[in-house]
């Protein structure tokens, strides 16, 4: 793994757009009887990182999978560049400009590294991500492109998964649990790539178990608890205690303010 090593907070490099790239309005999703999300809303602007934090089962992954089209919401709307994509199929959302790096990476085991990148390729005018550009971001991939992904380390597999999503040239990039199962140094390297992704005007929505990593990276954070938003705003607005209270749903913390 190479790439710029930066651990400083990155709070938006792109221009302030008038309208958000990705907008979610009052999203409610059921898993059978279970209400996984209740009226969740969010906005992500171009060049910004919006981080979703929360405990296991808070509905973070469900939120990303619903935006990508793998779950149908009972209520609410998903808009990309102002266009309603709520009823579109998952594959046509990729064409519209939404790409998800799923939890567990989900690479294609019988495809080589290069084929994993190529299969995600969408040629879109004026969007910069070609397979060649992905190799510039991850130079080791060029020599190892004919290998199968099972031969790669966890961090390398995560890089291929990101490269596969980038090759689709998304407007909104959704990252689900990037750090899961990876060594801290690898996680820092991957997050160090963020400025380069944002500089192309992409909007990034990420779900992260590691709250401190999310707070360091994100322009805005949003905490989910049992499918509802318990906290939302710029990370510097909150004390660690406030975030902790929102994360675990501790009502008593309000009294300490």
């Amino acid at each position: 793994m190479t790439g710029p090593f930066r651990d400083d907070p990155h709070r938006g490099a792109g221009p302030d757009a008038a309208s958000p790239v990705l907008e979610v309005r009052d999203l409610t999703v059921f898993h059978g009887q279970l209400r996984a999300l209740s009226g969740v809303s969010l906005q992500v602007d171009a060049g910004r990182v919006h981080a979703i934090i929360g405990a296991n089962g808070a509905g973070k992954s469900t939120l990303l999978r619903t935006i990508a089209g793998l779950h149908r919401p009972a209520e609410g709307a998903i808009l990309l560049d102002g266009e309603d994509v709520t009823r579109r199929s998952p594959h046509s959302r990729v064409d519209a400009g939404i790409a998800l790096v799923p939890e567990g990476r989900r690479l294609f085991p019988s495809l080589t590294v290069e084929e994993n990148i190529l299969v995600g390729q969408r040629r879109v005018a004026e969007r910069p991500w070609t397979p060649e550009r992905v190799y510039e971001l991850f130079p080791w991939m060029r020599e190892r492109r004919d290998q199968r992904t099972a031969q790669l380390s966890g961090g390398e597999q995560q890089a291929v998964a990101i490269g596969r999503a980038l090759a689709a040239n998304p407007r909104a990039l959704l990252l689900d649990e990037l750090s899961l199962g990876l060594a801290p140094v690898v996680v820092r390297q991957i997050y160090g790539l963020m400025p380069e992704l944002l500089s192309s005007g992409m909007a990034v929505l990420l779900v992260e178990q590691d709250v401190s990593q999310a707070v360091r990276t994100a322009s805005t954070v949003q905490c989910l608890l049992e499918g509802r938003t318990t906290l939302e705003g710029r990370p510097e607005e909150f004390t660690p205690e406030q975030i902790e209270a929102a994360y675990f749903g501790l009502a008593s913390s309000r009294a300490t303010e």
Partner: protein, 289 residues
């Protein structure tokens, strides 16, 4: 020398089995569909040729020019309607639907053509052969079918490993959800895979119809041989399917040489031995489809 001849004939017969089997293998590899109507579709293709040849005055050997496009279309449409609807309800429904399809096809053919044997008339070609020596002679037709089978399997392997659609077929076979997330319309990919599978089974049906006589119920034998070839070779490997077909063909030919009544039994015994000793098949399928 008669044994050498048996092996040679078995290898050639194996090409036909492999041709039957590759569509079955492709359907299972990409969408986990076990098509029990596979053999009956081959018989439909053969009957189609019986109809086409007298009306169009096309040489029988060229009947594939008409039958193949029909089956490509049938495969795509059949997948997008009947098979996909069944798939959405679960694997067991697919099995029942293809079984039902098999029964329906057989009975419709019985209604149309009665239970009498038919054959695709290819004229004098049926009896022409190359005499290698006194014991070994290779029929043009058998050799032609074998060559077609090898070309089809090689072509399919090349298509799957090199083309964009082939890459998408392998991606969908690996992980349907992840394939959707990279922008692949998996239903369309399924449709294309089914179209190819139907086209190969049509070719197999035409070859079968030229090779021997057939009746509406003739689809069951080829279905079983195709299954056996796929399992012997290893599920999910097209090379394995070719080798599996050849092993089955040789087993049948050598068995038939020992005693004509042993022909089918010998093939089945080899199949059972592979299941018992090497259940994953000779080539463990790494590349799906």
């Amino acid at each position: 020398m008669t044994w050498v001849n048996a092996v040679v004939q078995g290898i050639l017969l194996g090409g036909l089995f492999a041709l039957f089997a590759c569509g079955l293998s492709l359907l299972f590899g990409t969408m986990r569909v076990i098509n029990l109507a596979h053999g009956d579709l081959a018989v439909v293709a053969a009957f189609l040729a019986v109809e086409i040849v007298p009306t169009t005055h096309l040489p029988a050997i060229l009947s594939f020019l008409i039958v193949l496009p029909i089956f490509l279309g049938l495969g795509y449409v059949g997948q997008r309607t009947l098979i996909q609807t069944a798939l959405d309800r679960g694997a067991f429904t697919v099995l029942l639907v293809t079984f039902g399809l098999s029964v329906v096809i057989e009975n419709v053919l019985l209604e149309l053509y009665s239970a009498n044997s038919h054959s695709i008339d290819i004229g004098s070609l049926v009896s022409k052969s190359i005499h290698v020596n006194a014991q070994i002679s290779i029929a043009y037709l058998s050799l032609g079918i074998f060559v077609v089978a090898v070309i089809v399997l090689l072509g399919l392997q090349y298509f799957l490993s090199r083309s964009t659609m082939g890459r998408q077929i392998r991606a969908v076979a690996d992980d349907q959800d992840a394939a959707q997330l990279v922008g692949i319309d998996y239903r369309h990919v399924f449709g294309v895979a089914a179209a190819i599978a139907f086209a190969t089974v049509a070719l197999a049906g035409l070859a079968f119809g030229m090779y021997s006589s057939f009746a509406p119920s003739s689809g069951q034998g080829p279905l079983i041989y195709a299954f056996e070839a796929v399992v012997i070779g290893g599920l999910g490997s097209l090379w394995g399917t070719l080798v599996g077909g050849i092993i089955l063909g040789v087993a049948q030919a050598v068995g038939g040489q020992i005693d004509p009544s042993l022909q089918i039994l010998a093939g089945n015994l080899v199949f059972l031995a592979v299941i018992a000793l090497r259940p994953e098949g000779i080539f463990k399928g790494r590349v799906a489809a």
